[in-house]
Amino acid sequence: MEDEVRELTPWDKVQLSRHPQRPLTIDYIENLFEDFIELHGDRLYGDDPALIGGIGIFKNRGVVVIGHNKGKNVKENVARNFGMPHPEGYRKALRLMRLAERWHLPVISFIDTPGAYPGIGAEERGQAEAIGRNILEAFEIRTPILVVVIGEGGSGGALGIGVGDRILMLENAIYSVISPEGCAAIIWKDSKQAEKAASALKLTAQDLLRFNIIDEIIPEPPGGAHTDMVSTMRTVEEYISKNLEVICSKDIETLLEERYQKVRKIGIFEEKIGAEGRS
């Protein structure tokens, strides 16, 4: 009864993106990569289980993989801090991006986080600095970077590993400057208005494609990515493969220039030409 299926609202997508059965970074790693070797630690302070990384083979090609990782149940989620990284996570990711650069391997980055962790240790160790530096240095990493938003793209915590040459997004994933609940609490002083905020924020893949913030939408099975894991994995693999081909065939100077120009163009405003205010 296809025609009875109503279109999903942004709020539905928020729920789907956070669905407890939704495939996580670890699922993509297990299914799409051969011989994944997890690498740990930022070499500065610690290892962050909320942001995992390592090396592996994707369709006969060596790759570096990084990604936020939530847990599959409460216990795992507590261990992985619900996919909310500390500065160590971002610093590990940068270390692995530098490794990819030296080894001439492309980077595949999976985004799935409610946001960077707001906590005491995170502040003490420079959460803002870690994210800021990753964003800054991503523009000089001399190797292709492919970003896939698989679930929740939570603000700066997502962008910290979100700069790349191609940005893909699953059909029901979200990517937002603030959580709908947080936005509602600020604007309407009521986090129960989150549904309204979800619509206002334009956080769906369809919206972001329209704003040229992402490059392509990866379709999901009708009930969402979790309803048919096999098909989800197959589709994501196909999209990664196709896009990886494109960016790996470009010379690095072109790639860096395009990476720069892509974000340089983002922003919508009016530039008034004329004598107004001019002496």
Binding site: P118, E123, S199, A200
Partner: protein, 283 residues
């Protein structure tokens, strides 16, 4: 690319905007920290720092500019960029908010950028105003900051940005978030070309702006007693379900944790910036 060529424009000779920002009314102001009653004229002379306890009052963008540039001469750039309801965000409440804060601050946007001399050195200077939607960054602010780095690169001049901000602006959604990437992309190029970026963190400097260019200065200066960090203290308290210790995320706290180079009192800010530029200029 979308770079306005400031050369082609007629410079705006010291058209200094009248101070529309409300200075505390009347003759006296109470210091919010030590509760001392301060004579306004005296407070102005003291760069809006409490003469009793050293509390640094928040400054409007133009107040800050006047305190930093020589002879009160400043050539504003890109003042013709205007925000639009790009998403649009829930039935025009963004445009209302913009209108309200334009009237309140007399500013067009949350940052004023331009060119001016500091201690005799030509610089590009950008100053945030917390009074304008919490000094938040959306398309216009991101564009102005990006251009400032581009001008700095083209002219081989220092870029100084004073932040007072709550981060990325919700009303422009992901367009705001992506300004973090855009500004940092431009900063990356500016740095590679040997530029000098001095990041001055005023109260408060948090979230999306801190997690982009503000935390990446060649030299980072904090004003005393500013709130500096990634997450706001209320969000942290709600997350960890405990009270934060006194002084958490203060300038002194981030200095102790190695996030800023120095804490500089307002009276010494201009001369400190001048000393840094002087050394950089000998390159």
């Amino acid at each position: 690319m979308h770079i306005s060529d400031w050369f082609s424009r007629k410079p705006k000779y010291a058209v200094l905007k009248p101070e529309k920002r409300e200075i505390p009314e009347g003759l006296w102001t109470r210091c919010p920290k030590c509760l001392e009653i301060l004579y306004n004229k005296e407070l102005e002379r003291n760069l809006k720092v409490c003469s009793k306890c050293g509390y640094h009052f928040k400054l409007g963008a133009w107040e800050r500019i006047y305190q930093l540039v020589d002879d009160r001469e400043f050539y504003e750039l890109d003042e013709n960029l205007e925000s639009v309801d790009a998403l649009p965000f829930n039935d025009g409440i963004y445009m209302e908010k913009l209108k309200e804060d334009r009237e309140k601050t007399g500013l067009n946007e949350a940052i004023v950028t331009g060119r001016g001399r500091v201690e005799g050195f030509e610089t590009f200077l950008g100053v945030f105003d917390f009074g304008f939607i919490g000094g938040s960054m959306a398309s216009v602010v991101g564009e102005k900051v990006t251009r400032l780095f581009e001008y700095g690169m083209r002219e081989n001049l220092p870029v100084i940005i004073v932040t007072a901000t709550g981060g990325a602006r919700m009303y422009e959604g992901m367009l705001s978030l992506m300004q973090m990437a855009k500004t940092n992309a431009a900063l990356n190029r500016y740095r590679k070309n040997g530029g000098l970026f001095i990041s001055v963190l005023a109260d408060p400097s948090t979230a999306g702006v801190m997690a982009s260019f503000a935390s990446q200065g060649d030299v980072i200066i904090a004003e005393p007693g500013a709130l500096i960090g990634f997450a706001g203290p209320r969000v942290i308290e709600q997350t960890i379900k405990q009270k934060l210790p006194e002084g958490f995320q203060s300038s002194e706290f981030v200095f102790q944790h190695g996030m800023v180079d120095m804490i500089v009192e307002r009276s010494k800010l201009k001369s400190t910036i001048g000393r840094i530029i002087r050394i950089w200029k000998t390159k």
